[in-house]
Amino acid sequence: MNFEEHAGKSVLSRAGVSVPQGRLCASAQEAEAAARAIGPVVVKAQVPTGKRGKSGGVKLAATPEAAAASAQAILGMEIGGFPVARVLVEEQAAIAREFYAAVLNDPASRSPLVLFSTEGGMDIEEVAATRPESLRRMAVDIRKGFGPADARRLLLGLDLGEAAVPVAAMLVDLYRVYRQHDAELLEINPLALLADGRVVPLDCKLTVDDAALYRQTDIAGLGAKEPLSALEERGRALDLKYIELEGNVGVLANGAGLTMTTMDVVSHAGGRPSNFLEIGGEAYTKGTEALDLVLSNPGVKSLVVNFCGAFARTDVMAGGVIQAWKTLNPTIPVFFSIHGTGEDEAVRMVREELGIEPYDRMEDAISAAVEAAR
């Protein structure tokens, strides 16, 4: 789950990390009122994606009137596919230096990784490529944590002057928030040293692990809603992994790997899949709901049902599909390929109850479905 800047800063603030004074505004009038209370401000589009500055989504405003005009210009923009519905109106900071700081899950070391660079405001990939000497990284033993001594060791040799102490304290704070909230990523870019010596996060990118939301209920409500289509919302409500696509060959398979492969073979045969939908794992009993969902996409012209059951029993999945097929009575053609756990029973059921002969090779079932969708 991604958090927009204002929501990430709320999480930081609740955890005792001081952030710039700001207000979330949904209109030019609100922005004007906020600027009147705060003084010179920066007006920032709130969308769960990067590159806001380059898209014109961040503007400085010295007066309340200018803040209103900036908000007017930014609200309604679309950045990275997200319409801007709100802006953060935040106090302008007297910036002395800009740094980069992040804590993230690192698949290579299978541990948390703390990153810091004296070069702030740039993409970290760019920093790593052009100014590698400015970048420090430390893999953390998650059972021991990351304390002040670790932070001092990380920063050793960097030219930070007086800022070394507050920067080290900030890194310890960021690690604490990352850990406390099951974050996958907490990135502060830029982390600013102000003229008065304070170190504050000017931006904040927070991603919390979806698998941990059950124990992050106090902040889950602050997360950004994923932009889902109506069908994807329906899939979500059924706890099914459904992604709507633009093609016309419906795909119903079990397991992420097999479902992706089914889409690949549709595409290789010259067709275009209309969805990703897998009913493997615990979802293998949801054949009925799944079929209904795939067929609800008005673009579907033919359907591939491709099962290769390990944990997921193909007889149970096929039973659900057959039941739904009889209820919904769709007019489009369907092509089956079924193998693995329970396949004899599943093949027999499809043959006897639907009068359809499953294909032995999935490639043949898919080619037939692509042909039928033309």
Binding site: R110, S111, R179, G257, F311, E363
Partner: protein
């Protein structure tokens, strides 16, 4: 990490519906299941084996080599660490959707104790004719046959399909290593490949990858160094970027994790990457014939 008949297996969560079903399947196949864990039913028997309160207790009473976890996500960390601290050589973690911070704790404990974690989110490991650990249809003779091709797969369902294709093409398997669909897994594609390269029972390798992460690129370094033929299929070519395709690890961000990057790295290292899984056996036949010719020429030269 290749399961052998002599490996003693402990089933954590043995009394649940899936734990029971798959324990029976493993036993019927010949896997040596020596016990189960359920703190509420310790002292009883289930599936003909004793139930212990903890993995540590199981280790103290007869011992075990491999633990397999039929444990829900919220309890997975404690169960894995119990098995690791008990001294398990291998922990097969089937559980999907374990919070990533818990997974990192599991990996840290495993590193300290020298335990190999397979998974999380794996369908398990199979050695046809010897045994299996997990939730793969080892007992289906159309999918698994004893043979000489080692198979590595992040996905259980796609791994099943690939094994089916191999058997259809006349190739049995020396081992199936399901490594799991999560982003932070204990045994990587490269680790599994190294084990198969070292295995004298393996003549050729089918490497089944998918988009996301950089494990296939890292494994390519070993592909370049081995004489064993490597064929590969990478899933996710037609997947839209920026979306998690079912597996938490299957997501392309920018160039990282892309199909083109993986296929390119494997092909440059000398692997044959096929467009559809059905083409794997023919690609394997061609490479194995070539390898046989090479070693024949080598023998003549000697």
């Amino acid at each position: 990490m290749i399961v052998r008949k002599s490996d003693r297996v402990l089933v954590q969560g043995i009394t649940g519906k899936q734990g029971t079903f798959w324990t029976e399947q493993m036993q019927a196949y010949g896997t040596s299941v020596v016990g189960g864990v359920n703190p509420k039913k310790a002292g009883q028997n289930h599936c003909g084996v004793p139930i212990f309160a903890t993995a540590k207790e199981a280790m103290a009473n007869g011992g075990f080599d491999v633990s397999v976890m039929f444990i829900p996500p919220a309890a997975a960390r404690a169960a894995a660490i119990d098995a690791i601290e008990a001294g398990a050589k291998i922990v097969v973690c089937l559980t999907e959707h374990i919070p990533s911070h818990d997974v990192m704790e599991m990996h840290a404990a495993a590193a300290e104790h020298g335990t190999r974690i397979i998974g999380p989110n794996t369908a398990g490991i199979v050695t046809p004719g010897e045994g299996f650990v997990g939730i793969m249809p080892a007992f289906n003779p159309r999918v698994f046959q004893p043979g000489r091709v080692g198979v590595i797969s992040r996905s259980g369902s796609l791994g099943t399909l690939v094994c089916l294709n191999l058997v259809r093409g006349g190739h049995g398997q020396s081992a199936f290593l399901g490594i799991g669909g999560d982003p932070m897994i204990g045994t990587t594609t490269k680790d599994a490949l190294a084990a198969l390269i070292d295995d004298p029972g393996t003549d050729a390798i089918a490497l089944v990858g998918e988009i996301g992460g950089s494990m296939e690129e890292e494994a390519a370094e070993l592909v370049a160094k081995t004489d064993k033929p490597v064929v590969s299929f990478i899933a996710g070519r037609a997947s839209p970027p920026g979306k998690k395709m079912g597996h938490a690890g299957a997501i392309v961000t920018g160039d990282r994790g892309s199909y083109a990057s993986k296929r390119g790295a494997l092909e440059r290292a000398g692997a044959v990457v096929v467009d559809v899984p059905g083409d794997l056996p023919a690609a394997l036949d061609a490479l194995m014939a070539e390898a046989a010719k090479r070693s024949g020429a080598q023998r003549l030269a000697d």
